[in-house]
């Protein structure tokens, strides 16, 4: 909307054009940067889904923090596709940014990152303990090291079309995965709107399928980090996903990238999808009528539990070769203890890993000016209790990360669902791959 536009423009002016004017290839925020004694703090993070967040972060937060700490803060924003390549390049070069944000746990970089234990302690002193998900995504129990620090994560709730689900007697959406299957099939038959759980090589698929797995007691590993993929529960889950696909979905789920379920949901095609609140936020801007029909609900119950995943896990690392380690750590402490501002600036996209950093979170999300109804996002007020990490109930370790990045589980489910392989064979193949990947990283003594 108009307000949005102005913001976006201001944002670019602040980041790019400002730098252009100074003639230096960086987003310089603080004026009078020539003073010699001044420290610099270079931050690299993604181009946030919510443009206003970048504007706030780069222009306001970084500037104010810099003034207070006599530091020149430089923020660079890059695309998600560039994060890992860039990190690898910085490590290889032993030079780069002081504070580097991954949008997922980066366990394979552990050797190059500073232990964040003191940051955790410092923040804990001020605002109490973080949620379990936060530790599980940034701590390696094998080496007893915090390889990253996480101030926040993005929930992955269920988006459903209230108008459709109302007509089959479920105005509040489904509560269990079995309902998605049976009622979803009914909706598809009656109104032609399929369910949309991706089966492609992309992040939304990876998250949604793990949600279904964990809800049905199927896991890549146990709490101690032993591979447990090959289980009766996993086989059952594969069969369930296959049935779910055959009864409620169409072939389009094989074609998707991370943006497709957003589009399909906003276009009014799907009856249900899993995603961050990017679907509803985009709908509010682009298709306000439809946005009223799309509502959110909590994690669905499987045969074992109701559990949801993080969609994006904000994990900051400080490289050992960083030139301002103390500044980076201090920035993190300050950012996290004042996360409420970030929460609001990001339009609730990022939720706190530290519950007390946004004490009035329930009140905030119960009254959102853009949501329809105003308490649309209220269902998320206990998300800190039902969201979990990739690799649950264990830690997000390097093996889990490689399994995730090479789409092993996505392929397993997709092969079975499409009939390209039987559920048993798909599981066998995936298990062999996981076994190899776990073996590799165990040998490197990182898992």
């Amino acid at each position: 909307m108009p307000e949005q536009r102005v913001n976006r423009r201001q944002f670019i002016k602040a980041t790019g054009a400002g730098a252009l004017a100074t003639g230096i290839g960086a987003n310089i925020i603080v004026p009078g940067r020539a003073r010699a004694a001044k420290k610099t703090l270079k931050i690299l993070q993604w181009v946030h889904f919510v443009p206003v967040y970048d504007e706030w972060f780069n222009k306001k937060l970084a500037k104010e923090w810099g003034e207070k700490n006599d530091t020149e803060v430089i923020v660079d924003n890059i695309g998600i596709a560039g994060i890992n390549p860039r990190a690898t390049a910085e490590v290889s070069a032993q030079k780069g940014h002081d504070l580097f944000l991954f949008n997922w746990p980066p366990p394979s970089f552990e050797e190059q990152t500073v232990d964040m234990k003191d940051v955790y302690q410092e923040v804990e002193k001020k605002i109490g303990k973080p949620i379990d998900l936060c530790i599980k995504s940034t701590y390696n129990p094998k080496t007893k090291k915090y390889f990253a620090f996480s101030p926040s994560f993005t929930p992955d709730p269920v988006n459903y079309r209230q108008d459709l689900w109302s007509q089959v007697g479920m105005p509040n959406g489904p509560k269990t995965w079995d309902e998605v299957r049976t009622v979803g099939a009914k909706i598809k038959k009656q109104f032609g709107n399929p369910v949309g759980i991706g089966l492609a090589n992309e992040i939304d698929t990876a998250m949604a399928l793990r949600t279904i797995m964990y809800a049905h007691g199927s896991h890549e590993q146990d709490a101690a980090g032993n591979l447990t993929l090959n289980s009766k529960q996993t086989l059952e889950t594969i069969k369930f996903v296959k049935a779910l696909f055959q009864e409620t979905m169409t072939d389009e789920v094989f074609t998707w990238d991370a943006s497709s379920n957003n589009r399909a949901m906003i276009a009014g095609k799907l009856s249900l999808a899993l995603n961050a609140i990017s679907i509803t936020r985009t709908a509010e801007k682009e298709n306000p009528e439809n946005s009223k029909k799309i509502q959110l609900t909590k994690a669905l119950k499987g045969s074992v539990r109701a559990i949801g995943l993080e969609h994006v896990m904000q994990c900051y690392v400080v490289w050992k070769f960083s030139e301002n380690i103390d500044g980076a750590k201090k920035f993190l402490v300050d950012y996290t203890t004042n996360f409420r501002q970030a929460f609001v600036a990001g339009e609730f996209y990022d939720f706190p890993c530290w519950p007390k950093s946004v004490p009035d979170i329930s009140k905030l999300i119960a009254n959102d000016p853009k949501g329809h109804p105003a308490d649309k996002y209220k269902v998320l007020d206990d998300v800190l209790e039902w969201a979990t990490n990739v690799g649950y109930p264990g830690y997000a370790n390097a093996a889990i990360d490689e399994i995730y990045s090479t789409w092993v589980l996505n392929v397993m489910f997709a092969k079975a669902a499409s009939g390209a392989a039987s559920p048993e064979d798909a599981l066998k193949e995936a298990d062999a791959q996981c076994r190899r990947i776990f073996g590799k990283w165990k040998e490197k003594k990182m898992v």
């Binding site: 394979s108 072939d251 074609t255 990238d257 990045s405 791959q433 190899r436 590799k440």
Partner: protein, 316 residues
Amino acid sequence: MSHDTVTSEAHARAPARTRRLAFLIDRPQWLGAVMIAPAVLYIALVVGLPFFLALYYSLTDITAGSRTLEFVGLRNFAAIIDTPKFQTAVQNTFIFAIGSQVVVIVLATVLALALMKDFRGKWLVRLLILLPWVAPMSLGSIGWLWIFDSIYSVINWTLEAAGLITADDWPMYLGKPYLAMASVITVHVWRLLPLATVILLAGLTSIPKEIHDAAQVDGAGFWRHLFQVTLPLVRPIMLVATLFGLVFAFTDMIVIFVLTRGGPYDTTQVLSTLAFFTGIQGGDLAEGAAIAVSLFPMLMAVAIVFLRIARRTEVI
């Protein structure tokens, strides 16, 4: 003629810089070395050194985050070679590369032959045919992503409007194994067709007219003329076009990265994308390097054979 007069004349004419190099005149080998040195040095430094480093990575246990590496010999290669994921990727790589090159060469030949003729509007036609070549491919691929979209595909909309398909059986271009492979090949052909056509046009233009005339005197029909006279004559240049295209298909991953990321279920996963997902996204740099390197010997063999043939069958 005396040596002195020649050099003094040269001094008089040549600028100062050339004069300083004048002592090399009589030693072509010296001059050759001096002239070639910058390029060789540059390549050694910016390609050679990093390449051997990467090669070395594939023989170690390096990860994205590690700096202490241990030599492990061929273990990374041994580890990947048996995995179905790697084998599928090798197979897909060849299908993708060879499939797209066969199509490119056939289409480029037809198109180049058609463009040999003069006709009205040729300038515009040529412009439109050149377009894909100059498009930044990351954006060109996004354009195709939109054309293949599962909901908004213009191809499907048109087919449906024409009554050829119904809304329920829209082809999912990126969602069915064969269709997805056909789609990424199509986009790759689209991107390489203009250059291949231009190269072939070059080959066709260079055939002396007398040869065509002679064939006509012999009474060769269109097809015989094409297959027995024209095509053999452009074969060397065609090999060059093919080689260039093959290299691109083997090493460049942007098309597949944007369109399918190897999906559906790894049926378009090629070595370059698998290396990226394993080494860069997954953090196992050593294995990623091994995957990327594993194709190099084959590519090198192909290239050497191609170059030799191309040079040997010098025609004109």
